[in-house]
Symmetry: C2
């Protein structure tokens, strides 16, 4: 029972067939057959029931899957910890909501890469629920999500405390749509909740990928947006926007950095926490 065999096995279990697993493993399908057969020989029982529609786990297979996923995850966690302890620091797999990624991360990641030049940093964006799941599965080391956070499963740090405002064109239209990031964004969730509280459940929503795009459309009078105050005032043509406060219940948005409490923190991860804990301004002073 080797690591490669377990990887192959899990890939087949996930892909649902031998042939679909092969490309994921960067090998040909006959190799998959051989390896699964070896595994089955070693364990003395069938792991899959082969049929027309691919391969389905047997009872024994289900059991192996449980162990295999656990073992492989632990392998990877150990590898990261050791890479970090050795010369090069381990890669940091970061997650963030799209809005956070757009508004806040550029400065932060710049500082982080300066502080940890050897740590490759990857970023996955997605809605809060997906990010939490990925962190829990240890596919991500940490993620920026909308708070509050379940403290029994995750460790967390308040990353950013935003004041949300509404931005609209100087000539507002009554039937203007809400311009927002894709579904799952916490700013969007706030905006929707706010609109519901006003009884405006029929407001149209336009999805956009970037904050600049959203504010650009707002400026053009296409609709209105709910966004962090800092982002709005930093907009290149901020004076063209009319900014109004949200009711206090909706105005404050906290973004937390979360990670599994039982996973070892890598160097880059600790550095990130330091950068968040200390105000950004102070950072600049120490550099300049």
């Amino acid at each position: 029972m080797d690591r490669q065999l377990l990887k192959t096995f899990v890939a087949v279990a996930e892909a649902g067939s031998f042939s679909a697993a092969a490309p994921r493993l960067h090998c040909v399908q006959s190799n998959v057959t051989t390896r699964i057969k070896r595994l089955e020989d070693q364990l003395g029982g069938a792991l899959f029931e082969r049929g027309r529609g691919g391969a389905q786990l047997t009872q024994l297979g289900e059991r192996l899957r449980y162990h295999a996923e656990d073992l492989l995850t632990r392998f990877e966690a150990a590898e990261r910890d050791l890479l970090d302890a050795a010369s090069r620091s381990a890669p940091l797999r970061l997650g963030a909501m799209e809005s956070t990624a757009a508004v806040r991360l550029p400065h932060l990641l710049k500082a982080l890469t300066q502080a940890c030049p050897t740590a490759p940093i990857s970023l996955h964006t997605g809605p809060t629920a997906e990010l939490l799941s990925l962190v829990w599965q240890q596919k991500l080391d940490a993620a920026f999500v909308a708070g509050p956070v379940d403290a029994s499963r995750f460790q967390s740090l308040v990353g950013f405390r935003e004041t949300l405002v509404m931005a609209q064109a100087t000539e507002p239209s009554a039937t203007a749509p809400l311009l927002s990031f894709r579904s799952g964004c916490s700013y969007r969730a706030v905006a929707e909740a706010w609109l519901r509280s006003l009884g405006k459940s029929d407001t149209r929503i336009l999805d956009m990928g970037t904050l600049d795009g959203i504010l650009g459309c707002v400026e053009a009078g296409i609709g209105f947006a709910v966004a962090p105050q800092a982002a709005v005032t930093a907009y290149r043509n901020a004076e063209a926007l009319r900014v109004s406060a949200l009711p206090p219940a909706f105005a404050i948005s906290e973004t937390h950095l979360v990670w599994r409490q039982d996973s070892a923190m890598t160097r880059a991860h600790r550095t990130l926490c330091d950068l968040i804990a200390r105000p950004e301004g102070e950072e600049r002073v120490s550099v300049g």
Copy 2:
């Protein structure tokens, strides 16, 4: 970071040198060099400091050792669980005090091998403390030890409740030595405690390996012994022995079967527990 590499690494760490590790791994020393080098390349740092007296772990090596031992143990636990789930049941690695092994296990193991013919059963004998350590390290699946047992770390079952008696020749001598199993045996510990309570701390002790040998020597008038009543009455020439009771504080000895509570129980293990839970007499009836 492969399983074999970790095995090699741990072997070197335990053996203290590359050359000493090689025979344990059933390979030649140059292979050890190659594998450790691969590991070091992958992690990007040295794992050992090579010197005259062998190889010593670096800081990174210590860290890897922690992970490696954990991973390897989990691998083996998973393997056992899966072998058990597949056709053949997993091997049962049993431990027992020497006296238990001699007096009680023959019947029990016979019944167990009948009930689980496909499970290879191995037996390691040793004193209670060693057995508990081996069970904790998951080198043994379960062991018979002298109670009481630390319930926070181990799960246990009362295996045998013995009445201990003193056996001596019909013509006892005042300066006779105690005939006993090797140090660490719980019967011997009882005998020593009893003698201490009588102020006879100068009694000589003769070590023997088998109960028959001990009772044979008792019969020959060489000394006296503390042994389970059942074993004494079952002795082939029992009428030649004079049996006397021990004070109640020393007469009762409980042998527990213990195992780690967080390890999955294999088929043979469950069967063993069943056999212990039900009285042996009943077993015979169902067979005859």
